[in-house]
């Protein structure tokens, strides 16, 4: 099977049938921002088989507690949640030392962002809504944060984004680059959301965090589990595979 892992790498490419299409009319902003020509498939070289994940994971400070990282000395308001899971490569192997960056609205559905919003919801001076951490040797990451609120957006009449956390991962190869959103299993607003529904039906459930009683911390925070599968494969030093 070793040859399966080192050949042209077709089995570790970005699998477009697991991802949303670029053009998705229910999400209006895609219409002028989606390519109309076919992608050009390249024989993967070191340019495609490498990526920034390992180099960038080596330098970032951990900042995984969003309930205190505003640095005000006060605690953020809202329902505390632990979000944890494993980052896996295209073969299901854990990806250690990967930088996971997140951003989200506060408990009331407001972002701490300079862009104007017409949504009259309060900011929380003790909540930035930004965090980062690394996966450990088993590919596990963990954040302590506040359950975000839903918020309205202008896509269509009475449009609401279901509660979600944005996640960014760099990963082991260029095509591993993933920006996604974590949603909460059981949320009745999911089926009404064109962004969630843009993912193919077979893969939508992979964006759901599930309540996990083993992750909940008594008298402190409820626990949610969310695993992430990236394209590409984790490489360790000494496994140079070109030529």
């Amino acid at each position: 099977m070793a040859s399966d892992r080192v050949g042209s790498g077709d089995d570790v490419r970005r699998a477009h049938d697991d991802h949303p299409p670029f053009r998705y009319p229910d999400y209006k902003s895609t219409m002028a921002r989606s390519p109309e020509r076919d992608m050009v498939t390249v024989l993967r070289t070191l340019s495609e088989r490498t990526g920034p994940g390992p180099a960038w994971s080596a330098v970032e400070d951990d900042d995984a507690d969003l309930t205190t990282n505003a640095g005000t000395g006060g605690r953020a308001i809202g329902a505390r949640i632990v979000v944890t899971g494993r980052v896996l490569d295209a073969h299901g192997a854990p990806v250690p030392d990967t930088l996971v960056e997140i951003w989200q609205a506060n408990a009331a559905g407001r972002y701490t962002h300079w862009r104007e919003t017409e949504y009259d919801a309060p900011l929380d001076p003790n909540f930035l809504g930004v965090g980062q951490c690394h996966t450990d040797a088993d590919g596990i990451y963990e954040f302590l944060t506040i359950r975000p609120g839903p918020y309205p957006w202008g896509n269509h009449p009475n449009a609401w984004r279901p509660a979600h956390v944005h996640l960014s991962l760099l990963g082991p190869a260029l095509g591993s680059r993933l920006v996604t959103q974590l949603y909460f299993a059981g949320d009745p607003m999911l089926e009404l959301d064109p962004i969630y529904c843009s993912a193919p039906p077979h893969s939508r459930h992979r964006m759901l965090a599930h309540y996990d009683h083993d992750v909940s911390v008594e008298n402190w925070a409820t626990g949610w589990r969310f695993d992430i599968v990236l394209a590409g494969e984790h490489a360790t030093p000494g496994e140079r595979q070109d030529d």
Partner: protein, 199 residues
């Protein structure tokens, strides 16, 4: 047969309009410092939509080899340092959110060295870009070649692109700038649509 069925990937979602909170740190568009070996270059352009309008909330990321043609990655014999926050010099990765009014992005970096082509020989020096934006449900990948590199004529990837679309991958050197500035606009859609690569 016997090939392991791959694990299904977590679907991509748009970065939305608010990613700058986390992914828009000032300085991440500068890859070099005084000690970085190699020829300084500036790479810049605009990100444009299918109407030719600037994409005011896009994110362009750069991944490139160093001046000797090596990537900071274990597959290129690079050992990651322990995760202790050491100064690592040139990582080859940069980020630049597009400017709100103009869709402009820019990187201060070095001219990359040539990287081997597994099909034989060397590739022409190139930089790899990852493009995302509100209104994009997945990331797009492309390459940037530099128009003063003679090796472009023999580059397998560049030559495999239809001739009439090849210019969308080649940045143009401006006269008189020091360090030299190379310019390339990225078009998500339309008659000048950038060639995007399936990686």
């Amino acid at each position: 047969m016997g090939r392991p069925r791959r694990t299904r990937q977590t679907p991509s979602q748009t970065v939305g309009p608010f990613f700058g909170m986390a992914l828009g740190r000032e300085g991440d568009e500068v890859l070099v410092d005084d000690d970085t070996p190699g020829e300084r270059i500036r790479l810049e352009g605009r990100l444009l939509d299918g109407n030719g309008d600037p994409v005011e909330d896009g994110l362009v990321e750069l991944w490139q080899a160093d001046a000797s043609g090596r990537y900071r990655h274990p597959l290129d014999d690079w050992d990651p340092p322990p995760s202790t926050g050491d100064a690592r010099g040139f990582t080859g990765f940069g980020r630049c959110p597009t400017a709100f009014e103009t869709g402009a992005w820019a990187f201060d970096t070095i001219r990359p060295g040539a990287v081997a082509d597994p099909a034989g020989g060397m590739q022409a020096p190139h930089l790899n870009l990852v493009v995302q934006a509100r209104g994009m449900l997945d990331a797009l990948f492309t390459r940037v070649y530099l128009d003063d590199e003679p090796a472009n004529e023999a580059d397998r990837v560049l030559q495999s692109v239809p001739a009439e679309r090849r210019a969308t991958l080649v940045a143009t050197r401006q006269d008189g700038d020091d360090p030299p500035t190379f310019v390339l606009d990225l078009h998500l859609q339309g008659p000048d649509e950038t060639v995007f690569l399936d990686v």
